[in-house]
Each structure stands twice: as structure tokens, then as C-alpha cells.
């Protein structure tokens, strides 16, 4: 028997790009049956997103797509066509969840609205992921991660004071929303069990970000203070990456650490001088302080600093690692975090694994992302009323 946690849940997955597919990846990896519906002309546009392996650039070759779509099945449907719609509504009858991330209003324009869906399956939970949610003044605004970083407030507290605000690399907002949507999906499934019935759930990528920037709104609501970006070294060592000899560490003191401990860690007796012994004196001599601190960090190797800091319980320093270091990291190795997936088009590639370990219902061994429409025949036969010729017709429409 499949020991997966979510093996009783079947999902019709109309998502594309990153946020939605990460949501359904989480659900699929923990056992839900995810039927990914793709358009016959090219499929999910994430199939064309980098990184690729070497020169391979076909629709099956995007490694990002492969990461986001493990353990899923793929069917192709043109939801604007009569046959496509028929198959879609047949499938809906067999599913617990419909998860989509079209622009708000898109499905309705194809006559796929909540009423029609619940009429077909009154316990269906519809999860809609969009940039700004299904209503509100920004509903139709265009956005990508950069815009979300700005409008969620995260960017304002990111970077150096006086300089341009920053965002994280890549697509953090998308992944955040995807994770939250996966949780909301399960809440929806519980809702059905406990009497809330079928319903639609609105996930705004913007709000997923804003939820995590609670520090800044709460700061204003409770003290009137508007936080800003990283300040200069004003008698304190900022909790931000600082250059060591061979890379960067992040100095973090947990709780009330005496200054001596930090000075000892940095192996610099000058820092124990009374010019730096108190907060006030460090602040008064801040220029000299900064110079000494930077020199001291610059003399030590980052992992030495990291390990030595962690031999004191109050110094929970971070160490900046790049991917090559992660691949050799003893903790990641212990967790067997990275995993090889063999894909018919790209062969073996090492992928990120999961941060979650569930003792009794472990994550499924990853099945490589589906080829476009690979499950048409089986799923249409099993779950829809399509005729053989209609199924053939769909197969021929794949481009």
C-alpha cells in the first residue's frame, strides 16, 4: 500500500509557471495524485524557463520545470474547445481539488465558474493563486517577483540605507505563495470533512509576501516606527554578511552576549581595550571600531569563525555558502538532501530535495516530471467519457 500522507487526494492541476506548480509539487510529493492539465500547444510555459542542461532547450528539458513537476501526471486539453471542456468537467467529478493560477476572471470567461464547478462536484475545493487576489484595486495589475518585493514592503528593508532597495535573487514570492497554497488546499479538504463544503480559496502572491513582512507593519502599529534598510556600522556589528578571509559570515548574537566573547572570537585583544568596552564607547570610537572589526573578520576563514562561534551557545553565526559548498555540506549530506532524478530527455541531474521529513509518511521517491500529455490515453479512458476518436484527436493536437 502507498504509505504517503495524501494518497487519498486527487487534484486537477490547472497551474503553470512557478507558484502553482510548486504548490502541487508539494502535494504530489507527499502522495496526492496530481493531474496536470496543459495546453496542447507547448504546455506549461515553465517548460521553456532556464536553467537547462547544456544545449538542450526542448519542452522537456527545462530543469526548473522538472523540479516543479515531480510525481505529477500530464494531460493536454484545450479548455476553449468542446471536447476539452467535456473532458475537464468529467475529470472534475473525480477530484477533491482544482488548483489554478490564471489571471482573475480567465476561467469565468471560459464558462468555468464556481457555480458550474460545484454543480458538477459540490465538495470541490477551488484554489486560485494570483498576483493580487481575486478582488481589490490591484487585482488586474501585472507583477513579477520584483513588483511583489516592492509592494509587500520587503524591499524597503532590504539593502543599504540610502541606496537602492533590493530583492532576493530568483522567485521567492512565487515559492512562498505556492507553499501557502498547498497548506490552504489541505485546509480546504478538511473543510469538506468538517462541514464547510466545497468552496473557493483566494491566494494572493502579494499577501503571501506581506504576511512575512509583519515586523514592519506591526512596528508602526505599536510604536510608530518605520524600519529602514541596513545601517552603517555605528558602534555595533550589524547582523549582516561581513567579509571574512575566504568569504562571508553573518555575525549573530543570541540574547545578551558580552562584548568580550565577540572580541575573543575575533582573536583581537585591541577590541578588548576600554575604547570599545561599552556600547557608548564603541559608538564614540565608531570609525576606529569599524576598521578593527573589519580587519579582524578579514583575517579568519569563514568556516573557522562559524564553527568556533557555535561552540558558544550565544553566538549563532551564519556562514554564506554557495551551491558548491552546499553539495559538500556535512549536514545536507547527513540529510541526503540532494537527489538524482533520471529524466528521459536530460538523463541524471542532481536536484534539491525537501526540507521536510515525515517519519511515517515519507515523501515519495521523485518520479521525473511528465512529458507533455504523457497520461492522456490512460486518464481520459479511465476518468472521462471521451470517445477513442476524441482521445486520438487530442493526441494529434499536441505541438
Amino acid at each position: 500500500m502507498d504509505p504517503s500522507a495524501l494518497n487519498k487526494i486527487r487534484i486537477l492541476d490547472l497551474t503553470h509557471f512557478v507558484a502553482g506548480p510548486y504548490c502541487t509539487k508539494l502535494l504530489a510529493d507527499f502522495g496526492a495524485e496530481v493531474i496536470k492539465v496543459e495546453r496542447p500547444d507547448g504546455g506549461d510555459k515553465a517548460r521553456y524557463l532556464p536553467p537547462f542542461k547544456g544545449d538542450l532547450h526542448g519542452p522537456e528539458d527545462s530543469l526548473l520545470f522538472q523540479y516543479l513537476n515531480t510525481n505529477k501526471k500530464s494531460v493536454t486539453l484545450d479548455l476553449k474547445s468542446r471536447v476539452g471542456k467535456k473532458a475537464f468537467f468529467d475529470l472534475i467529478e473525480h477530484c477533491d481539488l482544482l488548483i489554478e493560477n490564471f489571471k482573475p476572471g480567465t476561467l469565468q470567461r471560459m464558462d468555468i465558474d464556481k457555480e458550474a464547478l460545484l454543480k458538477k462536484n459540490n465538495n470541490l475545493v477551488i484554489v486560485s493563486i494570483s498576483n493580487f487576489g481575486q478582488f481589490g484595486p490591484y487585482r488586474d495589475y501585472g507583477a513579477n517577483d520584483l513588483i511583489h518585493y516592492a509592494l509587500s514592503g520587503l524591499m524597503f528593508v532590504f539593502g543599504s540605507t540610502g541606496r537602492e532597495p533590493l530583492k532576493h535573487a530568483f522567485r521567492q514570492a512565487q515559492f512562498k505563495a505556492g507553499t501557502n497554497a498547498a497548506s490552504a488546499s489541505l485546509l480546504g479538504v478538511y473543510g469538506v470533512k468538517y462541514g464547510a463544503g466545497g468552496q473557493s480559496i483566494d491566494i494572493s502572491i502579494h499577501e503571501s509576501m506581506a504576511s512575512a513582512v509583519r515586523d514592519t507593519t506591526t512596528s508602526f502599529a505599536t510604536t510608530g516606527v518605520v524600519p529602514t534598510r541596513q545601517s552603517l556600522m555605528n558602534g555595533e556589528i550589524p547582523r549582516a554578511p561581513i567579509k571574512a578571509k575566504d568569504g562571508y559570515v553573518v555575525p549573530i548574537n543570541f540574547g545578551s552576549t558580552d562584548w568580550e566573547k565577540t572580541a575573543n572570537l575575533l582573536d583581537n585583544t585591541d577590541l578588548l581595550h576600554e575604547r570599545f568596552s561599552t556600547k557608548e564607547s564603541r559608538r564614540f570610537n565608531s570609525k576606529e571600531f569599524e576598521k578593527l572589526v573589519r580587519e579582524s573578520f578579514g583575517k579568519k576563514n569563514k568556516f573557522d569563525l562559524f564553527y568556533e562561534a557555535h561552540s558558544h551557545r550565544e553566538l549563532v553565526y551564519g556562514v554564506v555558502q554557495d551551491v558548491s559548498e552546499l553539495l559538500r555540506n556535512p549536514q545536507y549530506e547527513h540529510d541526503q538532501y540532494f537527489e538524482t532524478i533520471d529524466h528521459p530527455s536530460t538523463g541524471n541531474v542532481l536536484f534539491p530535495g525537501s526540507p521536510l521529513k515525515l517519519s511515517e509518511t515519507p515523501r515519495k521517491a521523485p518520479v521525473a516530471a511528465p512529458l507533455l500529455g504523457q497520461d492522456n490515453q490512460q486518464l481520459f479512458q479511465e476518468l472521462t467519457t471521451l470517445t477513442t476518436s476524441e482521445i486520438d484527436c487530442i493526441r494529434e493536437s499536441i505541438r
Partner: protein, 453 residues
Amino acid sequence: MEMTRILKGLRIVELGQLIAVPYATKLLSDMGAEVIRIESANRPDMYRLSDYYDDRVDGEYWNRAINFNEQNRNKMSFCVELDKAQGDYTLKDILAISDVFASNFTPRVMKKYGLEYEELKKIKPDIIVVSSTGYGHSGPWSSFGAIGFGTEAASGLSSTTGYRGEGPSQPEIPYPDYTAAEHTVFAILSALQHRLETGQGQFISVSQAESVTSTIPESVLSYTANQLKVEPIGNDHNEIPLHGCFRCKGVDDWITIVADSDLEWANLMEVLSPDMEELKYENYEYRNSNRSELHRLVSAETIKHEKIPLMKMLQERGVKAGAVLNGEELLFDEHLKNRNFFEIVNHDQTTGIPPLPYPSRPWKMGSTVEINLAPPPTLGQDNHFISTELLGQSQQHYDYMVENKILSEKLEIPAKEVDVSRDQKVSDRTIHKYDPNFENRIRDEFMVGNDDL
């Protein structure tokens, strides 16, 4: 219409600190779960000990700790010393009637108090035990304490983030705590689903560093497939010619703009520089290979505009644009207001804190779902209820525990004095600004106040 609290009847015991677990259980408590927060007067959550409402350090300051309150709405507080045998037994008694036990202390602490899954399973066979750690529950880094700034560094995200050509950069909030918490919510709900089907509990381990690595496949796969390391490129985007942050009129006011296609560029110029006669910019290749020139051109125009009206003008023309909002502007943002994203939470009367708008949650459920929004607990507020009613202990036993300081409702730790005034912080530029009138602003904007209590 009858409303459902989806997680009603679910009891979660939380031995948490700061964000990674408290944020996760906050979201579950919103959905109706009963969360019992285990606290200690000897070793209080750091969030009880810093940043108080209106910077007031008098009296029971710990009940006015702003981050604690915001992270712990709906929860009960049971303040018990686990170092004392009676306290330890009491926690085990609570766990024997609970569904989930979640903690973000290191495994060392859990072991010390006999709170490992194997032990707890004996008390409650179908319990779900969650361990959220910086780096992992077992293994060479498992004993290392961590907060988000450390795990962000380790995760691989920092090495790819920052100003172009410079070192790594991190935001001023412990970002990975939320990433870990979001994955934790998903893991708990998955385990509950399994328990519902089979009656079986289990052990969940969440690694905060790994939770972030799982959200940067672009970086990992560039390296594992092609041995390419991604370097920081600021706000730039490899495939989009104009993708950046531009200064606007005002103090530290900025707007982000994304213009990729010829049409988006034309629409952008129509707003910013309608008299532009230079034809070379109409060429995508030219724009793509002259990005700094493009940046200067756009900056020279955005500085003439206020960020929010400019954002609206651009969005109306189909150009992706977003004003960089600060904490105050986010709180008053018209879109979030329209969506009731900030929800009003009351506070215990003894705190003197008015009802306040707190961020709700990253999902909006349908109209049949009832959301729980009760005040955050004062320290040890539920000691008596939990001891005598939930556990059925005698009043005598309760009195004994109080007398022997196994249960407490007060801290004996002095408040951390506010060493730098808010006005000083403004002039040091460690904060953007301070509005002494904030209470009125909140009351007027959200139409709440002490009068409503």
C-alpha cells in the same frame, strides 16, 4: 449560514520561540486549532523581552511585547518551569491529551526534557511531534542554534543576492523563519490527513536552511547541471532589458518597473517621456545591450513623479510597476485595506493596548469558514484553567505549583530599557521615521480604539 472552524477540536501544544514555530501555529490557530503556548518565567521567549507597545517599560512590560502579541493571538499561555519535576509532569499530562506538539528548540533541549518523539509516543500513541530547527534534527549541524539571518546565509540564497559586483545581502527581517514556518504548516496538515485516515501519528522534522534551498532550484540546478555559479545581480533580470528600482520624488521613495517587450517599453515611455524622439530605444536588442543607459534614462524621469500615482499610471498602460512601500504605507495600502488583509485583534484589558491591525494570513477561505481572532495571552494567563479544569488537578496542587514558582504569571527579569530614543534613531538613520501620532492614525484609519472595548 452555518460557519465552520476547520481545525476546531485540534489541540496543539507549542514549545516555541521567536517565529519559526509560533508563526506556523498562529496560522493554524486562526483556522480554529486550540494552541497552548508553553512559556517559562526563568527562560522567557526573547519576544517577551524586547520591543514593547509605545516603548513603555513599566509594570508588566512582557504583556506589551509587540512581536510576541502579534505572533501569538488566539493562543493560551501556560507558564511552567520544566526544570522542576512537577512542571515537567504537567507538560506530559497536557501532551497526553493533545494532538500536535511543536517546538523550535534544538534537539539538545528536547532531549533534556524527555520530549523526543519516542518518549511522547508512549504517552500519546497518535501524537504528531514537530521539530523545527535551523539546520536539521539530527546530524553534524543539528546542535547549532539559528535564526533566519544564519540559515539564509547557509541556504545558498545569500550568495546569489546583493548589489551587482558586491558581496551578499540580506533583508532586515529573518526571512527564512517564515519559509520554514510555511513548510511546517503544510507538513502538519499532511500528517493530520494521514492520522485522519489511519489513526497514526508521526514525527516531523523541518530544516530551515533546507526549506530555503528548496526555493532556489534555479541556482542549484545551474550548478549541478552546468557547473555555473549564480552571482548577485541586484534587481536586474537576465532575460528582461528593463527590470529595476528607480528613485521617485520624496525621501527614500522608489518604484520598481519591469518593461520587456517593445510594447511595454513604448507604454512606459508614453508615460515617462512622451516627447522622446530617440528611435534607437525602440529596438529590443539595443535596449537589451544598453541596460545602464536605459536605467539612467528612466531614473531621470521617475524622480519627477510620486511613486504611487506613477505606479497607477504605468499599470493602467499595462506596464508592470510597484511602489516600494515602507511599513507604514503597507499598513495603509488601499488594496490590502480593500481586502481586509489587516484584521483587528484585541488585547487583554490589563495591557492598556488598543485593538490593533495585524496581518491576517496568506489565504482567504470561502464564506463558510469562520476565522478565530482572539487576543494574545498575557503570561501564564491560562495556568489556572489548564491545571484545574483541563487536567483536573486540585486547587491545592495548583496553589503548591504557584507557591513554588513552578507556575508563574510574572517575570522577575527587569525590562530591557530603551537605550536609544526613537527620535535619536531617526537622526542616526537606523529607522526611516517615527510618527508620535501613530495611535491616532491607527484609530482613524481602522476605526478602532479603546472606546470599542
